[in-house]
């Protein structure tokens, strides 16, 4: 695939995503959460890096807006850790998607992750990572 073309496409995608993420602030403000321009930008860059690291490609705005919406009412999410948590959650999503949950739809995987994050993992992303690995091993 033409790398320059892919890069250009990713950049266009990132701009659309950035706008969409920033637009989500209207919803997230009800939960006391706001994403800064820099935060949205960092998330887009993180998404790109995570996709490269996991050898995946995303066409369209991708999964990030869904992740944001699914996490808005998390009891473990506060303004202080909002951007940082989204960033790490997104990374974890792409990692486990490729390695462990390829056959799960995005919605199903997000639901598994969010339920565990809010529940038994107590908002701890390292614990969530371990939980996902264990869950997948048991299913195999």
């Amino acid at each position: 695939m033409d790398n320059a073309l892919v890069k250009q496409w990713q950049e266009n995608n990132a701009q659309v995503l950035e706008r969409e993420l920033y637009g989500l602030n209207e919803e997230s403000q009800h939960y006391g959460l706001t994403l800064s321009h820099e935060g949205a930008q960092a998330l887009c860059q993180g998404r790109e890096a995570a996709l490269v690291d996991t050898g995946r490609m995303e066409l369209g705005p991708g999964v990030l807006p869904k992740i944001v919406r699914a996490l808005l009412d998390s009891p473990y999410l506060v303004q202080r850790n909002y951007e940082e948590t989204l960033y790490a959650f997104q990374n974890l999503f792409y990692t486990v998607k490729g390695e462990l949950f390829e056959n799960y739809s995005d919605d199903a995987l997000i639901q598994i992750m969010v339920t565990a994050f809010n529940g038994q993992c107590g908002g701890d992303l390292a614990a969530l990572s371990g939980y996902l690995e264990e869950t997948r091993c048991h299913k195999e």
Binding site: M1, G55, R56, L59, G60, Y94, K97, D106, D107
Partner: protein
Amino acid sequence: MPQRMMTTTKSRTVQTLESKREEEERWQLLTQLVKDYTKGEHSSLPVERVEDLMASMEYTLAQTPPSFGPLAQRFEAGQKIIVVKTAQAKKLLAQVMVTAPDYGTRSYVDTLKVLPLFFKAYKPRFFAHEIPCDIDYQLAVPLDNEALGVDGFMDYLQCLLWENRFLARYDGKRVIKILRAVHPHYHQLLINMALPVMERALSRALLEEPLWALTMNPQLTERLEAFHTHHPRQEVAKAYEIAAVTLAQALDLKDGEPYLKQVAQDFWPRAMVKE
């Protein structure tokens, strides 16, 4: 700015905009294809899978000329053409099956069993460029155009059909004799069955011997060797080319003339080395 230069600059700008618009259309089409492929359930895919979908899309688009219209329209038209070609390939395969000789090698028989699986496994919507069956049997002249998808499959079938028709021109017992001369257990080998017969027939055509027979007795072999020895290479090459034309005409297989010429071209340098 001079008028001519202004026109050139303007036309370049239009070209750039056109190509940018086409690239955007391409990405939109690919995005839609990914969405359809994942049934909207996965926003990301492994890069290799996206590359496959892209190759399939390009293969489908190549079925129609660029002037056809918007890319999405071209894509759908290309899909329709592929469906028609797939139906044609089915008919071609039926002809291959009917004409298949009953003394086939293992790889030939195995390939005949595998070929119908193409139609079961072929997914033109997303993987139109693939040939989803393992074809072991090698043709006398390997396909060099590397055509993809149903086009590549049809090219293979067309050659195989022609080889079948060539072999059918000869008595099966004579063919088996030649194949046994290649190897007593020829049917276990991954060899092409038509090639040794074609080479023998070409040798006889070159010597202007009757073409219904396939024997090469010591006298004929000696004459052939003498011909190779006493003629410059260019003349030998030309003589084999003429032999290919003669053979195709004699067997009433004019459509296979280029195929036989290619076999002859590959054969004569080897025939000279044998000596």
